[in-house]
């Protein structure tokens, strides 16, 4: 079973919830936590575990072979991303624009653009007792998060069966990276805060998960600041509020030090327990 923790707005507490929930669930069962916010992966700052393996991640791009090329320009014609262009008597490839569709390579009449791999980031896997933590990190200067997210998901699916609960810390926003991270999960937890920004971005996130046809619930973080508009919105739209994590300066302070909060604050642990029950209900339904 896969659960995505997503938010729309950044900084609402996705990573706080992902790490604390994963650690809490791992007290009683095997859990995989995957940080799919590959542009700014932060979960690793909160999870102290032992490194098990590391792997460089590559994407495929065409590489020009001058000798066989007749400079016909077919590659430039078929590339919708302007990643391959003919300039004078040269073919130039722009790796950051390439989507690895293989069209230029396979449609080249002279096979002068064989695909070759280029580094885009790294994946690390850590383990401590019941908790396996997988983090992927995009190299700086790489613009496309999607291929790295996709590869990370594939390796998780291959490494762990559907009976293991996998928690995916997702990127913020509503565009391609978050779609890639959430499109094949069983349940989405949307983390929000009870402020106008939080509500505005929650509505966009709800539209997104509805578009994807996902079952979802909301966790309100920093409950107590702002106003009641998020609660009203959830009630009016029959969206389950799974838990409310209180607004507390102590939480911000613990978080700032890279510490888990539920071990120190019983009121947070209580809220995690509610989320756990919700998730286990879905888990039991799926594994009937």
């Amino acid at each position: 079973m896969k659960v995505a923790i997503a938010s729309g707005k950044g900084g609402t507490g996705k990573t706080t919830l992902s790490t604390n929930l994963a650690a809490f669930l791992a007290e009683t069962q095997q859990i995989v936590l995957a940080d799919l916010d590959v542009e700014e992966p932060n979960s690793g700052l909160f999870i102290k575990a032992d490194l098990q393996s590391e792997e460089v991640r590559y994407k495929m791009i065409p590489e020009w072979e001058e000798e066989s090329c007749t400079l016909c320009g077919k590659c430039q014609e078929v590339c919708n991303f302007h990643a391959v262009i003919r300039l004078g008597d040269q073919i130039l490839v722009f790796p950051e624009l390439c989507h690895s569709c293989y069209a230029c390579s396979e449609l080249c009449p002279c096979s002068s653009l064989p695909m070759t791999k280029i580094r885009m980031g790294m994946t690390h896997q850590y383990k401590k007792e019941n908790l396996t933590f997988i983090e992927s990190r995009l190299d700086i200067g790489q613009e496309q998060a999607v291929p790295l997210i996709s590869q990370t998901k594939t390796s998780i699916d291959e490494g762990f069966g559907s009976d293991v609960i996998k928690i995916c810390d997702s990127p913020p926003g509503t565009s391609c990276p978050v779609i890639e991270a959430t499109k094949d999960v069983d349940f989405v937890i949307l983390v929000t805060e009870p402020t106008p920004f939080g509500l505005h971005d929650l509505k966009l996130a709800v539209e997104t998960v509805k578009e994807l046809g996902k079952d979802f619930g909301v966790v309100i973080n920093r409950y107590g600041i702002g106003n009641d508009d998020v609660i009203k919105y959830c009630n009016e739209n029959n969206i389950p509020i799974m838990a409310k994590i209180p607004n507390d300066r102590k939480i911000a302070e613990l978080y700032s030090k890279g510490k888990l909060i539920y071990t120190e604050l019983p009121e947070v642990k209580q809220e995690l327990q509610k989320i756990k029950e919700h998730i286990l209900n879905i888990y039991n339904e799926l594994n009937k």
């Binding site: 700014e40 913020p172 509503t174 565009s175």
Partner: protein, 290 residues
């Protein structure tokens, strides 16, 4: 005309609240651009009245003409994105998976596939409550090419600034280090980094600054919620020194920022005391640095 871009790496550090404050303080000196097109929030504080709306078309998606398709399956074979499946004996494109490369359309023996331009969002030119111009946008759900929409919003703001001889374009950038941020940064004259003294805030600041360095843009930094963790604040200050980034200001943790937001106000309108002075002084300092 100088372009000032505000970014943060990590979300939730107060980037938009701070940028909106600058926008209010700058008033008629500036054109404002909300380039966080994924989660555009600035309008909630600027109360813009839309004067012009335009659709934004970018990228293409495969569409299969079922009358012509013979279900040969060449498209499925060449698609590297697993975006075409045979459902009920009809080859069907999953829109969210299609990257728009057009490979399938080029090799379909029956020419049954058309690549169709996508309306990925809208962009607007609006007049704000302080009578300056805000260029902003709304990206469609799950849309690709947010980087291109960012570039569009920024270019429109620049053109308007040049036409009306403004001193500044103030840009609210997006979180992360990927394509929308790269788009926000290109062509900027000065970057304001808004961070917070948490291990993750500092971590993300370092990552996004690596990117800023690649663009060789001068940068200054605001440490928001600076009293949450003195130790990390000190570490950030050391980092700023070692990288020759101007330390613009420390702003303390204060729930008045959230209260201001619930009234649809920026902190410089809501607060009359120390917080307001800090932000006003920051703006003065940024103008000097630029």
């Amino acid at each position: 005309m100088k372009e000032i871009v505000v970014i943060s790496g990590k979300g939730g550090t107060g980037k938009t609240s701070f940028t909106a404050s600058l926008a209010v303080l700058a008033g008629n000196e500036a054109i404002v651009a909300d380039c966080d097109v994924d989660e555009a929030d600035m309008h909630l504080l600027m109360q813009p009245v839309v004067q012009k709306t335009e659709n934004f078309y970018s990228g293409v998606i495969a569409e299969i003409d079922q009358f012509i398709c013979s279900n040969g399956g060449t498209c499925v074979e060449v698609c590297r994105f697993d975006a075409i499946h045979e459902i009920d004996e009809q080859h069907t494109v999953t829109k969210l998976d299609c990257e728009g490369c057009g490979y399938c359309a080029r090799v379909c023996p029956n020419h049954a596939i058309k690549m169709v331009e996508q309306n990925v969002g809208d962009w607007y030119i609006s007049k704000t409550k302080v009578n300056n111009i805000l260029v902003h946008a709304k990206l469609g759900i799950g849309a690709e090419n947010s980087g291109k929409l960012v570039a569009k919003v920024k270019n429109e703001a620049k053109i308007l600034a040049e036409e009306s001889h403004k001193d500044f374009v103030i840009v609210d950038g997006s979180p992360g280090i990927g394509c929308p941020v790269v788009s926000s940064l290109s062509g900027a004259n000065f970057v304001v980094l808004v961070t917070e003294p948490s291990v993750s805030g500092f971590h993300d600041l370092k990552r996004v600054y690596e990117l800023v360095k690649k663009f060789k843009i001068k940068a200054g930094c605001i440490i928001n919620k600076s009293d949450i963790n003195q130790e990390v604040t000190e570490e950030i200050i050391q980092f700023l020194k070692s990288e020759s980034i101007d330390h613009i200001a420390n702003i303390p943790y204060d729930e008045n920022f959230t209260k201001a937001m619930t009234y649809g106000q920026t902190i410089v309108e809501y607060d009359k005391g120390e917080l307001k002075d800090l932000v006003v002084n920051s703006w003065q300092k940024i103008k000097e640095l630029v």
